[in-house]
Amino acid sequence: MTLIVNDLCVDHGAIRALDGVSMQVERGQLAAVIGANGAGKTTLLRTLSGLKSATSGSATWKDQNLLHSKPEKLVRFGVSHVSEGKSVIPELSVEENLNLGALWRRNAKESAETRVKIFETFPRLQERSAQLADTLSGGERQMLAIGRALMSKPDLLLLDEPSLGLAPLVIAQIFTSIRELTTQMGLTVVLVEQNAMSALEIADIGIVLNLGRVAAKGSAQSLIDNPQVRAAYLGY
């Protein structure tokens, strides 16, 4: 159970967004993918979850090729994607947003257990379960988006910029929860972040993307210690 991405190339029309990206995430690891705007981070996640089709290369999870499959099929295969910008549906209630993630699951009892687990991690969601998602704060929306993804019972969780637009305190809280959930639920996580330091602090390994290529990778600590990475992405 290793996520293996090999020489992945993805194009947006004439522009090459990912150019020969290779990376490997072991089961149970939390991998932080960091880099500037336009580095290809979001494209990487969208390709892994089936929203975007790849030009060449491969990406395998549980010994199966992820590329050229539809997202709705990959969800059933254990790949859950929280897309950029708090992917909740504001017109639906908190409870409906959560239920949405479990619609395809036939086992209602299992879904209920997952929901209990999500409410333990994010009690605010339980308090607000009858409210429209539209009424939630930014942090609560992010919790709901992660909760929705977990309701699909993933083993590979793809998170796109959970810190976007949130206050530092809220970011810290959400990142702590992400780390806890990864360990407790035995997830493998790919966390895409501009907020490089926060991401590397909770991650096991890190990948630095620059203009669609892997600029550096290694253990999260080694990246934090790397002077070039520090100067370019961590800002000190």
């Binding site: 979850s49 929203l51 539809k70 997202p71 709705e72 969800v75 059933r76 859950s80 994607h81 929280v82 897309s83 910008g85 992917s87 909740v88 549906i89 504001p90 017109e91 639906l92 409906e96 239920n99 949405l100 993630g101 619609l103 395809w104 929705r148 993804a149 309701m151 699909s152």
Partner: protein, 301 residues
């Protein structure tokens, strides 16, 4: 006093049929972001199917059910064969309008097709129940047993739809796919199939509107029926008044339009019906462009 009561009754009856047509348009709009002008043609085709069924089964109600089922099937086919190809082939600046213009083309094709096969044939659907108004204290109301059935049938369908939409898993999938198709797909919803389902419910609603409206009017069907064009126009106005996104809005829009038109019919002049409907549309678009039930701000991404 009786004029007022009659006005309200006429408004409710015609309004509930407009609401049904508006629901059909809203369902298609929500699932594929297309204003389906072909809906009038589909409703006409379904009603012709209903007419043939009446000849065969000698029951209006069986014919109504068959027309709704086949109307749903035709609508699903149009989505799968026609719309999906259209969306795949059209990119660039034309992509936004091509599907809508294409539904206009489809409307012409359906009407032309009906004309070829059924044009020479006289087709009349008679009301299955008395359409003579109830008499109260010597006055004849503009409300008959058949009109009562129309209003009740529409009411039952609306309650049924709202239960499906708010209480069931399919309803949740339908709403999620309408509001945020990408998130729905990421959550595992088979959005393509759900779209087809939205179209088929719309097809059934349009079929019901046609089947109920026709015998309530002159009963005569023709390939170039003005009645079905009006049904489309009024349904569209009702849908826009309701915000184009909301099923409840479609119902409110339909009833409101029905009532306003009834007031014009009873107190002003029947020749002003058409223009009133359009004035109402323009006023709503100017004063409250998001419709009655529509949200003020645009949807957040």
């Amino acid at each position: 006093m009786f004029t007022l009561i009659n006005t309200i009754l006429i408004g409710l009856t015609s309004g509930s049929v407009y609401a049904l047509m508006a629901i059909a348009l809203v369902l298609v709009w929500r699932s594929t972001r297309v204003v389906n002008f072909a809906q009038a043609g589909q409703a006409l085709l379904s009603t012709y199917i209903g007419f043939e069924c009446i000849g065969r089964f000698h029951s209006f109600w069986v014919a109504l059910i068959v027309a709704m089922i086949l109307g749903a099937a035709v609508s699903a086919l149009i989505e799968v064969i026609f719309m999906r190809t259209l969306f795949k082939r059209n990119t660039g600046p034309i992509a936004g309008v091509a599907p809508i213009i294409a539904t206009l083309g489809l409307l012409g094709i359906i009407r032309g097709g009906i004309g070829i096969f059924m044009g020479g044939k006289e087709a009349i659907i008679r009301p299955p129940l008395s359409n003579v108004g109830f008499t109260v204290a010597g006055h004849t109301l503009a409300f008959s047993p058949f009109k009562l059935v129309i209003v009740s049938a529409v009411l039952v369908m609306m309650i049924g739809l709202s239960v499906v939409f708010t209480k069931t898993n399919i309803g949740l999938a339908l709403r999620a796919s309408a509001y945020a198709p990408e998130i729905a797909r990421l959550a595992g919803v088979k959005v393509d199939a759900i779209r087809t389902l939205g179209w088929s419910i719309a097809g059934a609603a349009g079929a019901a509107a046609g089947m109920l409206q026709t015998p309530n009017g002159t009963g005569a069907l023709s390939p170039d029926s003005l009645e079905f064009s009006l049904l489309l126009v009024f349904g569209f106005i009702a849908a826009v008044i309701g915000g184009l996104e909301s099923l409840i809005g479609a119902v409110i829009g339909g009833l409101l339009l029905g009532l306003v038109l009834a007031v014009v019919l009873m107190y002003v002049n029947a020749t002003l019906l058409f223009v009133t409907a359009f004035v109402l549309l323009i006023v709503v678009l100017l004063v409250r462009p998001q419709g009655i039930m529509g949200k003020k701000a645009g949807r957040r991404a």
